[in-house]
């Protein structure tokens, strides 16, 4: 599931995961509130979560709430702000942290937090 308020970034994340057959994008929303609602209705194993979102909740605040809805879900905080790294590290609900300039690391990070091995090329 993608929780991201920028349409272009959502498309880019989708494009990246299209290359990895073990992932399917089950939904994409612009706010954490919508994310919480969607997490209740679809089976989700990984959430790529932005921090600054449409709506009242930030990614950091929403992460533990999403884990309450789906305890086994893995969450990557994917943000433009590198200053959030230490706060993300201190939040147990967040499994991975990535700055948005590191797009090429998104799928490898997703594989790592989901305990999956990269496919042999």
């Amino acid at each position: 599931m993608i929780v991201e308020d920028d349409e272009d970034i959502r498309s880019l994340i989708r494009m990246l995961f299209k290359k990895e057959p073990r992932f399917t994008v089950v939904g994409q929303v612009e706010s954490a509130e919508e994310g919480l609602e969607l997490a209740n209705s679809v089976e989700v194993g990984l959430i790529v979560l932005d921090h600054g979102l449409t709506g009242d909740l930030t990614g950091l605040v929403a992460a533990p709430l999403l884990k309450l809805v789906v305890p086994e879900v893995k969450i990557i905080l994917f943000t433009a702000d590198p200053g959030l790294r230490s706060q993300a590290a201190a939040e147990v609900a967040i499994d991975g942290f990535l700055v948005k300039t590191e797009f090429s690391q998104l799928v490898p990070t997703a594989l790592r937090v989901c305990n999956l091995q990269p496919l042999a090329v």
Binding site: D6, S11, L12, M15, K19, T54, A80, K100, T101, F103
Partner: protein, 315 residues
């Protein structure tokens, strides 16, 4: 007998003379004492005079010291105020850099992301994905460019480096041009502006002011939107009124400040750095005008800009 009597008389005369002399001596002594006394008195008076002079000098010195202390106090207060002003400026600058860098980072991250993905695996993506990516890079570059332009304009306004090149402009035509380029639903906007109304402003600045007010009316307010221009003394007052929820009362005083974004459902669902209205105010002022906000009745916002009218439209 006579001789004895005469002798006695003579003796008495001598005594009297001696007595008189003694008296005169005493009087002389007394006079000398008095002169001494007078002299002493004068000396004492002189001492008193000296003491009075010294007292006056001392008082003057005390007053001078008090004045110096007052001056020190005034200087200290000025220095304290300057320090407080610097703290505010420093804080404002820190916020400015923080917010500006945050707003710049987001489109920059998108551009880098698409570009890096295409550069790494160009051939592995479909034609459609590649076209979308290039278009996204272009969109985000425009966003970035527009934000940099806004920051530059704001910086020029704040440093006093922005100048206006006023020209006579037909306000009605300027509003029409703004609506044509604004990609707006014309059915939900009405304009009331006399064809005679002419303003004397920089055309680029006028376009920016109108565009910001009208776009904001749709973005943060709600249709129908009404634009009304009237002549008031030597100024043309332009009002852009919408039918939305209006600005929260506690936010009105901050409306025209930079990076000001009220916390409403509309602002949360739209992106923006909060620079638009501060730029509008700066542009209006550099053209000799002013901006303000009024509540629209029965609901919504009414943003006002007053711009210098051309004399022909006044007469």
């Amino acid at each position: 007998m006579t001789s004895v009597s005469s002798q006695v008389l003579e003796s008495e005369q001598i005594d009297a003379t001696n007595y008189t002399k003694a008296l005169l001596n005493i009087l002389d002594d007394f006079n000398i004492d008095r002169e001494l006394q007078d002299s002493n008195n004068n000396a004492i008076l002189n001492i008193f005079d000296d003491i009075t002079d010294e007292k006056i000098q001392l008082e003057e010195t005390q007053r001078a010291i008090l004045n110096v202390l007052d001056d020190f106090d005034a200087e200290r207060k000025i220095a304290e105020k300057s320090n407080a002003d610097l703290v505010v400026v420093n804080e404002s600058m820190r916020n400015f850099i923080g917010i500006a860098s945050h707003d710049l980072r987001s489109p920059l991250a998108s551009i880098m992301g698409f570009a890096s993905v295409l550069a790494e695996k160009w051939t592995s993506y479909s034609e459609e994905d590649r076209e979308f990516s290039v278009a996204a890079i272009f969109r985000q570059s425009q966003k970035l460019s527009s934000l940099v332009d806004d920051l530059f304009t704001l910086s020029s306004i704040e440093s006093g480096g922005l100048s206006a090149s006023p020209e006579p402009i037909s306000l009605g035509l300027a509003i029409e041009n703004c609506l044509d380029f604004g990609n707006l639903d014309r059915k939900s906007i009405s304009v009331s502006c006399s064809e005679e109304l002419l303003v004397l402003v920089d055309p680029n600045h006028l376009g920016r002011i109108l565009d910001n007010y009208i776009q904001n009316a749709f973005k943060y307010g709600a249709p129908p939107v009404h634009v009304k221009a009237v002549l008031v003394n030597n100024f043309v007052q332009i009002r852009v009124m919408d039918s939305g929820a209006g600005v929260p009362p506690e936010f009105i005083s901050k409306l025209f400040s930079k990076f000001a974004r009220a916390q409403t459902s509309k602002t949360k669902s739209t992106k923006g750095a909060g620079l638009g209205l501060s730029i509008v105010r700066g542009l209006a002022e550099v053209n000799g005008g002013s901006t303000s906000y009024e509540q629209n009745f029965p609901n919504g916002s009414c943003f006002v800009v007053s711009l210098p009218a051309l004399k022909r439209s006044i007469s």
